[in-house]
């Protein structure tokens, strides 16, 4: 298995004092993405956020009785700190519900089911995962795509899981039958696919939409992982239960379906 992962999972810990600041304030501070079209997208021309998660947070805030919402752009590399430090009250930012994350955070019921997929260039003539033997995969550092990918390839028998070489920040790792490159942003990952540095990029299906064009395709029959997005709150926070209830309510009355439909 992949031993060390890029993001600093170990930094989780001291966060008990941040909880008290949440209640009573009329403003809900929500951490959202600024670069995922359809989920959380910041239009720089206007400074406004749009997307399914934005609408979701707005609905949530109104159900919880907040008068105002402050959207804060969060990145995969800083989202944990932002939430743990109490810079945001909750995160609705294509944040998948994972075992490791449940240790530090409370998650609402899943509001969107997504898959982690691999995207390749048509001109590479790669049709299936078998064509990828010996080639390079790219992921975004900070996302959990890399561990999921290595697990998946190991489980499929594609690789023995043995690391041949790795640099200090794990951004360039060679395995026996494949190579992993990690990039600081999705745009750089996409550019690497364009210029041929990586042969396939592995990322969330929701995010991949932003970077698809008619010269690329998703590798058929290769799903790295299924994952579900939930609204994350601080572990044990007073907000956790109401948020979970509200999201469940939205699931029950079809609000979520309508939002997904609207932004699909």
């Amino acid at each position: 298995m992949l031993g060390a992962l890029p993001a600093s999972l170990l930094m989780a810990g001291c966060s008990d004092d941040a909880v008290s600041a949440i209640t009573g304030s009329g403003t809900l501070r929500a951490g959202v993405r600024a670069d995922v079209v359809g989920f959380g997208y910041l239009n720089e021309g206007t400074g406004n956020y749009y997307g399914m998660e934005i609408d979701l947070v707005e609905e949530l805030a109104s159900r919880l009785g907040y008068g105002d919402i402050e959207f804060v752009t969060i990145l995969p590399e800083n989202r944990k700190e932002m939430l743990l430090d109490g810079q945001v009250d909750l995160i609705a930012a294509c944040y998948s519900i994972a075992e490791t994350r449940l240790e530090n955070f409370d998650f609402s019921p899943a509001y969107y089911d997504d898959r982690v997929i691999a995207v390749v260039q048509n001109s590479s003539l790669i049709e299936g995962i078998d064509d990828m033997r010996g080639l390079t995969f790219g992921t975004m550092s900070g996302a959990n795509a890399a561990p999921l990918l290595s697990t998946k390839l190991y489980e499929d028998g594609f690789t023995s899981g043995e690391v041949v070489t790795a640099n200090e920040d794990n951004s360039d790792v060679s395995f026996d039958t494949w190579h992993l490159l990690q990039f600081p942003s999705y745009q750089e990952l996409s550019d690497a696919l364009e210029d041929g540095t990586v042969d396939a990029m592995v990322l969330d299906g929701a995010i991949a939409q932003t970077y698809m064009d008619d010269k690329r395709h998703v590798v058929d029959g290769f799903v790295v992982a299924e994952q579900s997005y939930g609204v994350a709150t601080q572990k044990g926070s007073e907000l956790s239960a109401p948020v979970a209830e509200a999201v469940q309510g939205m699931l029950d009355d079809g609000t979520i379906d309508a939002l997904v439909d609207k932004w699909d």
């Binding site: 590479s124 790669i126 080639l135």
Partner: protein, 1038 residues
């Protein structure tokens, strides 16, 4: 003069009903108009939406084709390098050779690459890592032997946008060509992009289509470049509106739009019409109709009010009331007139409504078509430029191929044989290759033509290529039908050289320019017009300027036919035509524009607006009818109970008081009041209370008309400020419609007349004001100037309006000369009569009902005709006077007439006594004779006659009462004198006893005879002309 409570209530009811009618009409009318406009746009947007996806798909196809064509060019270039490598033309894998090829092929880079991605030779450095799987497409060529598919890398951030093509050299080696596809994407942008499709779609007059991403709501295309890239939600759009098929109002930026949303592939296409556009014309239409309706309603209501007040003032005449069942009375006096007013008003509303609807429908259609056709014309111009550009582009490409062929043959002349030329032709993707020697004789070809030599005849197609043998390096002949086969062919020649570099002949490419042909076709008139949408059911067609034949028509059978055979006329073939045309018996509304080769027409059947104007007018009429009926009933009917009370309260007898300037006249057995002639001439205003209800109504109507005229005048003068560019009314005012008998010309004529009349009125008012402060001569001048202004304006209006209506005014002026000729020949009298008649009417010397005296004839004017005037002389005789003979008119319907009587009294009677009696009795006479307006007055002693002292009594009266009053006054005087024993001298005859006369004796007889004879002799020389021939003399002489 106080109103009774009952009357107040009734008047209030009438006013409320009138206001309510106007409000109801306004709301319903604008509702209907808005609904109609929206429905019209809905239909159009629906139709556009249906076609949009097809248009987008077409554009997509075109993009694919353009890409394919572009790729083919560079694949062919790669393949020609591969051919050179295979055929001993000096190929070697060196950087220098690659640079040579790069220049020859005119590409960005040429490289030799091994199968594993290693670069063996290159013309320039490359950024591509050919080892990566990214370039697997290129490696395909190694196994297939065919040129590879293109690989495109697009990294705008790194300024890296390149397409890669490869062709096989051997199993392990390939040639790779790098090319920046900017040219391709420019083409795509201009012909196949969403923007290029949407740009050509127009909704109605100013409507357009814009596109925004369904995901980010960022505007991807908008005619206003400033909005492209903006966030639609931020600009005011509502996410809820963005549903496929939604039609309704939306907001974008500071513009309110009526739009239809259409979702195609994650993009919302919104067909939008600016709100201002939707409402502006409709508002004016509704406004005009409503104004007319308001005038009609106000007229009926005011008339009712005036009559009721007058009635109350003068006391009810019980005869006027007819009892209806249900306790209602109908006032007969009002009923008939109010009915006439209502009916006229009703028809006025219907006519104006229909007129405005037609105007609105036609002008909006006309505007839409005009804008559309202008757009089409500019598209045609642009596509013709584009065609020229394309031809140049293709010529350049073919020339490049010919140069490659010449390069290859220069390096290996051995290849000039059928097999190798065929191979080369395949590599270059051309049809035929010919090689010629220095004498112009064909040496080799892959075609079936052999034994060919360049023609010596300058007329022949091949002759031109002799230039190549005389020092010209290359020659590109324009594409044209081949002289031998008749097929479309294009020939390109480039000289070949021997080892020493001297020209030893040339190589010629024979191309069947299908690609160019298709491309050129796509810019042909057929293609451009084929896709043109003109509203619902409309289309575009073109007429060849050179021979007036139809160059394009949706129905293929029509193409090539002369337009005149199809029903159009020559004068319709011009720029900016806009009116009905008839084609194949079908009547269409069309607008035209001119391009360098064609007249382009956008034509369509009468739109929904035209179809709807009938029902809309009927609806308007219906509402008007109901409203008028309610008002009519309110005016005419009243409860029975009220009638008596009012009748009792009235005080008859003051009827004519304080109305000195009103004169009763009788026309056709009906008595009515008219202004006295003097009042008319001197424009004295009447006291409101003196007027009859009819006059008050006339006055109010004049105000309304005046207001309307001034409004129209203001609209005309300030048209730029009021109406937006391209709006319907600025279209009418702009005058770009056809002159002729059509609704625009009529409207413009009315508007012009309003303008001129307002100006004339203002000038006349000013002149009148001036005339008040200047002395007599100035007054005369002012009157004259005012008169001149009036006639000039009338003639101006006539002349201008005739011009607008399509009458050739130059001819009209010429025919004025003709008219003079005819007049001099004999029509003089008639013309004089007519002109005199016009002058009588315009000058207002007298009018119908006036009593006038002309050349000793006195009578009431019954009729002023164009040629004659009829006068009733009071004895039942009608005098027909020719207008030209009417001169020295005495208009007796002046302010006052006087009846006068002269009576003589005896010299013995005391004058003082008589005068004191008169002072006592004259007021009594007035009381007895109601015809007397003022007086009678004692005018004094007029004559000390032979037998009597004559005194004169005069009384003021209306002209029509004068003779009767004179008789009455005579009678009164006789009775008065009798009563007071004033003796009137009269001739008295004294009768005496008859005397007996003696007979003459014979002597006396003889003496008398002699005397007579002597006297006759004595006066024989004296003439007797002076003799007075009275009647007795005549009879005696006979």
């Amino acid at each position: 003069m106080r109103m009774s409570h009952r009357l107040k209530v009734k008047i209030a009811a009438i006013v409320i009903a009138a206001l309510a009618s106007i409000v109801v009409m306004g709301v319903l009318l604008s509702g209907m108009q808005g609904e109609l406009t929206r429905a019209n746009y809905d239909a159009e947007m629906e139709a556009e939406a249906e076609q949009l996806s097809a248009l987008l798909a077409e554009a997509e196809d075109e993009n694919a084709q353009n890409k394919e064509t572009f790729d083919a060019i560079y694949q062919s270039k790669a393949q020609s390098v591969s051919f050179m490598a295979a055929n001993d033309t000096g190929f070697e894998a060196t950087d220098a050779k690659m640079r040579e090829y790069q220049e020859l092929l005119d590409v960005d880079n040429v490289l030799i690459v091994k199968a594993d991605g290693a670069v063996a030779a290159k013309a320039a450095d490359t950024r591509a890592d050919f080892a990566s799987s990214r370039f697997n497409y290129l490696r395909e060529s190694l196994s297939t032997g065919e040129p590879s598919r293109a690989v495109e890398v697009n990294l705008p951030d790194r300024d890296w946008h390149t397409r890669y093509y490869a062709a096989r050299i051997d199993d392990e080696t390939m040639v790779v060509i790098e090319q920046d596809p900017a040219e391709l994407y420019d083409l795509v942008e201009s012909t196949g992009s969403t923007a290029s499709v949407l740009r050509n779609i127009q909704i109605g007059q100013d409507g357009y289509v814009f596109a925004l991403s369904a995901q980010t709501y960022v505007i991807e295309y908008h005619p206003n470049d400033g909005l492209v890239g903006a966030d639609a939600l931020d600009a005011g759009m509502d996410v809820g509106d963005l549903e496929d098929g939604f039609t309704g109002w939306m907001q974008l930026g500071n513009e309110r739009l009526y739009g239809h949303v259409c979702l195609i592939d994650d993009t919302y296409y919104i067909e939008a019409v600016p709100a201002a556009d939707m409402n502006a014309s409709g508002d004016i239409t509704v406004g005009v109709i409503l104004f007319v309706f308001a005038v009609v309603v106000a007229s009926v209501a005011l008339y009712g009010i005036f009559v009721l007040r007058e009635d109350e003032r003068e006391g009810h005449d019980g005869d006027d009331l007819i009892a209806l069942s249900g306790g209602l009375n109908v006032n007969r006096r009002i009923a008939s007139r109010a009915a006439v007013l209502s009916v006229i008003g009703f028809f006025a509303v219907i006519v104006i409504s229909f007129y405005m609807q037609t105007l609105f429908a036609l002008s909006s259609q006309s505007l839409t078509l005009t804008e559309r056709v202008d757009q089409v014309a500019s598209t045609i111009e642009r596509s013709q430029d584009r065609a020229a550009e394309l031809e140049d582009q293709y010529n350049e490409r073919y020339l490049s191929k010919a140069q490659v062929a010449a390069y290859i043959l220069d390096h290996n002349p051995e290849l000039a044989n059928r097999e190798k030329l065929q191979e080369l032709a395949d590599a270059l993707q051309i049809q035929y290759l010919f090689t010629f020697d220095i004498n112009g004789t064909m040496t080799a070809t892959n075609s079936s033509f052999t034994n060919f030599a360049l023609s010596e005849d300058p007329e022949d197609q091949s002759y031109e290529f002799r230039k190549l043998l005389q020092g010209v390096d290359s020659l590109v002949q324009p594409a044209g039908p081949d002289e031998v086969s008749g097929e479309m062919r294009q020939y390109i020649g480039v000289t070949t050289h021997d080892e020493s570099g001297t020209v030893n002949g040339f190589v010629q490419l024979g191309i069947h320019p299908t690609r160019l042909e298709t491309l050129l076709e796509s810019v042909q008139i057929e293609n451009v017009l084929d896709g043109v949408q003109v509203g619902v059911g409309g289309f575009a067609f073109a007429v060849n300027k050179a021979d007036d034949t139809i160059a394009y028509y949706p129905n293929d059978n029509m193409i090539g036919k002369p337009v005149t055979e199809c029903g159009m006329s020559e004068d319709q073939l011009k720029d900016g035509y806009s009116d009905y045309i008839t084609i194949n018996g079908e009547q269409l509304y069309a607008a035209s524009a001119e391009t360098s080769d064609y007249y382009v027409f956008a034509a369509g059947p009468d739109g929904a607006l035209m179809a709807e104007r009938g029902p809309l007018t009927m609806a308007t009429g219906g509402i008007a009818l109901v409203c008028l009926a309610v008002l009519y009933c309110l005016t005419v009917c009243e409860p029975v109970a009220g009638a008596k009370g009012q009748a009792a309260s009235a005080e008859p007898g003051e009827k004519d008081e304080g109305r000195p300037r009103m004169v009763d006249v009788t026309v056709g057995g009906r008595t009515m009041k008219t202004m006295s002639a003097a009042s008319r001439w001197f424009r004295r205003s009447l006291d409101w209370n003196d007027m009859t209800p009819e006059q008050k109504l006339g006055c109010v109507l004049r105000w309304f008309v005046g207001a309307a005229v001034i409004l129209v005048c203001l609209a005309v003068v300030f048209k730029d400020a009021i109406f937006e560019e391209g709006s319907i009314f600025s279209y009418i005012l702009g005058g770009s419609w056809q002159h002729g008998l059509n609704i625009f010309a009529i409207t413009a004529a009315i508007m012009f007349a309003c303008l001129v009349l307002t100006v004339t009125e203002i000038i006349q008012k000013i002149l009148m004001l001036v005339s008040r402060v200047v002395e007599a001569r100035g007054v005369t001048m002012c009157r004259l100037a005012s008169s001149i202004v009036k006639y000039a304006s009338v003639i101006g209006i006539l002349y201008w309006c005739l011009a607008l209506l399509g009458v050739d005014t130059a001819t009209l002026l010429a025919s004025a000369g003709l008219l003079t000729f005819a007049v001099s020949l004999g029509a003089k009298d008639i013309v004089t009569d007519i002109i005199s008649g016009l002058f009588i009417i315009f000058e207002g010397e007298f009018r119908v009902g006036d009593i006038i005296q002309v050349g000793g004839q006195r009578g009431t004017v019954m009729e002023i005709g164009v040629r004659t005037t009829k006068i009733n002389d009071g004895n039942g005789n009608v005098l027909v006077l020719r207008n030209s003979n009417i001169s020295n008119v005495v208009n007796m319907t002046k302010e006052h007439s006087y009846a006068s009587v002269e009576v003589g009294i005896e010299y013995g009677e005391s004058l003082e006594r008589v005068e004191s009696i008169l002072s006592k009795e004259l007021p009594n006479i007035k009381r007895r004779l109601p015809a007397i307006i003022d007086g009678p007055f004692y005018k004094g002693v007029t004559m000390l006659a032979d037998n009597s002292v004559n005194i004169k009594i005069v009384a003021e009266c209306a002209e029509k009462d004068r003779s009767a009053l004179t008789n009455d006054l005579n009678r009164e005087m006789k009775l008065l004198f009798d009563r007071y024993d004033i003796s009137v001298p009269f001739p008295q005859v004294v009768v005496n006893q008859p005397t007996v006369f003696k007979k003459a004796t014979i002597d006396e007889k003889l003496a008398a005879d002699k005397f007579n004879a002597e006297q006759k002799e004595a006066i024989r020389s004296m003439a007797d002309e002076d003799e007075d021939f009275d009647e007795s003399n005549d009879s005696e002489r006979r």
